[in-house]
């Protein structure tokens, strides 16, 4: 059993830690006027000006080659920057998908021309991508997508519909998983990834309001959208392999642990103002800490495997499922703690943050794969299917 035996306690190497103090000093100043309930949006927050500032600092595209505007740094250096950004609740949503997934995908599978065209603006924090995977009736059954691109003299003619597309209304581009050959019944065969310029005629983006009142995901409709031949990323028919490799990289990062950390820190600060914190509150703080710390250690250990060129897909799923459940538990547990006080004055700002996370936290165990899908992946890794 190497999956449960193979992750040892390690640490981020010194070259990874090198930037932490500088990043933290920048963030302390950059977010000091943003209220906590806005910072709590973290990687759902949209602020293109902030993304450009990060680009100027060299903190986007850190692992990209310098030839494409990157900084050729190690994955751990990026891990540290991301960890700090999330813990400060910095508004990183504008560039988040482009920097984490789209540009690395293009760097891995794209043509030289695609790399030169699309990657440097991502590293500058000027170009934003969204991901077109889900469809109205596909959902977790991702392989059943029906959006279709048919090759024609001008390139590809795209028709169909995507849904739950994060920040599509703010993005210039989507990387869409579409059917380019065969039928939906062919499952994994015949799927391809295409770069879609969302300003093209025939593209309609319609934001969907979530129950917190935000509209960070969208429906996107394609009606006879004419794409150029070079819209294709990688090989025709290889979209499924490309997508599954892409998903493995987004499952064990700090974003699966720290989505509720702004609230956690705000609540801890409130406990520190109380003359005598309740023992139950201290115990809850410890319960969250003693769950979170081993997951962070696991996340770092998985990152190390990725750096070594391994594909710890199951290990990443183990971290993601537990991390997102804990992220979801934090607002519920803190609400229980705060409302156990009789007549205590709870700061309004703390309640705003609590309310926001209470309403948005259902998505933690949906985005990047539902709990059921992840548990199925773990079962597959254990040899049960």
């Amino acid at each position: 059993m190497t999956i449960l035996n193979g992750l040892g306690l390690t640490r981020i190497p010194p070259e990874g830690e090198a930037l932490r103090a500088e990043v933290r000093a920048f963030l302390q100043d950059a977010v000091k006027d943003i209220p906590a309930h806005i910072r709590a949006k973290s990687w759902s927050g949209y602020d293109p000006a902030f993304s450009r500032r990060l680009g100027e600092k060299g903190w986007l595209g850190m692992t990209f080659p310098t030839a494409y505007g990157g900084h050729a740094q190690g994955a751990f250096a990026r891990y540290v920057v991301v960890e700090e950004l999330l813990n400060f609740g910095a508004p990183v949503g504008s560039h988040w998908i482009a920097e984490r997934q789209s540009a690395p995908l293009i760097l891995k599978y794209g043509t030289e021309a695609q790399k030169q065209r699309y990657v440097p603006p991502v590293a500058r924090g000027e170009s934003f991508f969204c991901i077109g995977m889900s469809e109205p009736n596909a959902g977790s059954d991702l392989a059943s997508v029906r959006t279709r691109a048919v090759p024609n003299d001008a390139g590809w003619l795209l028709n169909g519909q995507k849904i739950w597309t994060t920040n599509a209304q703010h993005c210039q581009y989507m990387i869409a998983l579409v059917r380019t050959s065969g039928e939906a019944a062919d499952r994994h065969k015949g799927l391809s990834q295409l770069i879609v310029d969302l300003n093209l005629p025939g593209v309609t983006v319609r934001p969907i309001e979530d129950m917190s009142g935000d509209s960070h995901f969208c429906e996107v409709f394609f009606e006879n959208v004419q794409l150029a031949p070079d819209a294709l990323v990688g090989a025709e028919g290889q979209g499924w392999e490309q997508v599954t490799a892409e998903l493995a990289f987004e499952r064990s990062g700090p974003e699966r642990l720290f989505s509720s950390v702004v609230l956690f820190d705000q609540w801890l600060a409130f406990l520190r103002t109380e003359a005598t914190p309740r023992a139950e509150s201290l115990r809850l703080a410890g319960q969250i800490l003693t769950r979170l710390a081993p997951l962070r250690a696991l996340s770092v250990a998985v990152q190390e495997k990725l750096v070594q060129g391994q594909s710890p897909i199951v290990e990443a799923a183990l971290v993601k499922d537990q991390g997102t459940v804990l992220e979801q538990y934090i607002p519920a547990a803190i609400a229980d703690d705060l409302m156990a006080r009789e007549g205590a004055a709870i700061p309004h700002e703390l309640m705003l943050t609590l309310n926001y996370l209470t309403l948005v936290s259902p998505c933690y165990t949906l985005r990047g794969g539902t709990r059921s899908i992840l548990r199925g992946m773990i079962a597959r890794g254990l040899g049960l299917r």
Binding site: M1, I3, L4, N5, L7, G8, L9, T10, R11, I12, E83, E84, N87, F258, V261, F264, D265, L268, L271, R272, P277, A279, S281, L282, R283, L284, A285, G286, Q287, L289, T290, R291, L292, A293, P294, L295, R296, A297, L298, V300, A301, E315, L318, D321, Q322, S372, L374, R375, G376, I378, A379, L382, G383, L384, R385
Partner: protein
């Protein structure tokens, strides 16, 4: 960590600490329970005496001693792999405890006595004597290393009045005041409770792994409705959740043992003991769920492990105790929780 040591220990345990031997020791001790404790283990359990002698002969109890004292000079972070293995084999003797006690005694300049040493972090002086309840492994130990105030006291099991405890290998012990006066005493270098909680975290990590692996094997073999039960999605999800708890708990136990010497970090131990304790309850429950009624029987080996999961969870402070300790440390620390988390999770081994 020296892989030769681990491989050698694995060989000994695979051959000499089988489920049959664990059962024999428990049964032999049960037959003597209520009787006075003995210094000669053969009078209580010949099987325990044989296992102890094999371990003593190979030097595993001395691994934490410096090399010039006949040990291997291991630190706690190296001992994790040893204690993990003991947990994987449902070790019925206080070997992990003896390793730690010998390490501490030698560091204090005290010669180590022959035989197994159980731990009693909370010795209570009362009515002219000293006592403590639920000493883990006391029925198969010759000594108890207890903590009383700022002192460690080494007490002979043979000099104690013993009464049965809840777990068959444990005992409630009571010594006369004279025994306490004449006992070897040294200043305690740290909290014995913290030390015990750290090693129990590692034992739990091992038993969690075996419990999970045997449940996974069972799910692949047990046929119901015409196919292995592991093919059913509900069972797959139960096993996935078990794997999650086991992975997090094993990492937490490594954190608990993350120390360069023989003294553990209290906050790291708090993380290890709280998280392994949570996992013990969940994993034991899920294991029995997957096994159905078969796993509930005495004759099936699962019980050797799930009883230990609950027992070790109840040893050296429960989740509530260690969560409170961790929470107090976190609130006292101030600043961002991230910095406390980094302090807990960053190994200092390569720094």
């Amino acid at each position: 960590m020296d892989h030769l040591i681990i491989d050698a220990l694995r060989d000994v345990l695979t051959g000499q600490c089988t489920p049959a031997i664990v059962r024999a020791i428990e049964n032999e001790v049960a037959a003597h329970n209520g009787c006075a404790p003995e210094t000669d283990l053969t009078k209580i359990s010949a099987t325990a005496a044989t296992l102890w002698q094999q371990i003593e002969d190979t030097g595993f109890a001395d691994l934490l001693l410096p090399e010039d004292e006949g040990g291997a000079g291991l630190a706690l972070r190296d001992a994790f792999a040893v204690w993990d293995l003991l947990g994987q084999h449902a070790m019925p003797l206080p070997l992990a405890e003896t390793m730690l006690a010998r390490g501490w005694l030698v560091a204090a300049g005290v010669a180590v006595p022959q035989g197994a040493i159980a731990l009693a972090p909370h010795l209570l002086v009362e009515g002219g004597g000293v006592g403590t309840s639920g000493v883990r492994g006391a029925r198969v130990a010759q000594w108890v290393l207890g903590q009383h105030g700022g002192e460690l006291v080494l007490l002979p099991v043979a000099g104690a009045q013993a009464s049965p405890s809840i777990f068959v290998l444990d005992a409630d012990l009571r010594w006369k005041a004279e025994t306490l006066v004449s006992a070897t005493r040294v200043p305690a270098p740290a909290s014995l409770l913290v030390a015990q909680a750290g090693l129990v975290s590692a034992l739990l990590a091992g038993s969690l792994l075996t419990t999970f692996e045997s449940t996974l094997n069972f799910a692949n073999e047990r046929q119901q409705f015409g196919r292995p039960i592991g093919k059913f999605q509900a069972i797959q999800h139960e096993l996935a959740v078990m794997a999650e708890h086991v992975s997090a708990a094993r990492m937490a136990a490594q954190i608990a043992c993350e120390a360069g010497g023989v003294l553990a970090d209290p906050l790291k131990v708090a993380v290890g003991k709280a998280r392994t304790g949570e996992a013990a309850v969940e994993v034991a429950s899920l294991a029995h769920s997957v096994h159905g009624a078969i796993g509930f029987t005495t004759e099936f080996d699962l019980q050797l492990f799930t009883r230990r999961l609950h027992l070790w969870r109840q040893t050296a402070g429960s989740e509530s105790y260690w969560q409170l300790q961790a929470g107090q440390a976190l609130v006292a620390a101030g600043g961002m929780s991230l910095d406390v988390i980094r302090q807990i999770t960053d190994s200092t081994a390569a720094a």
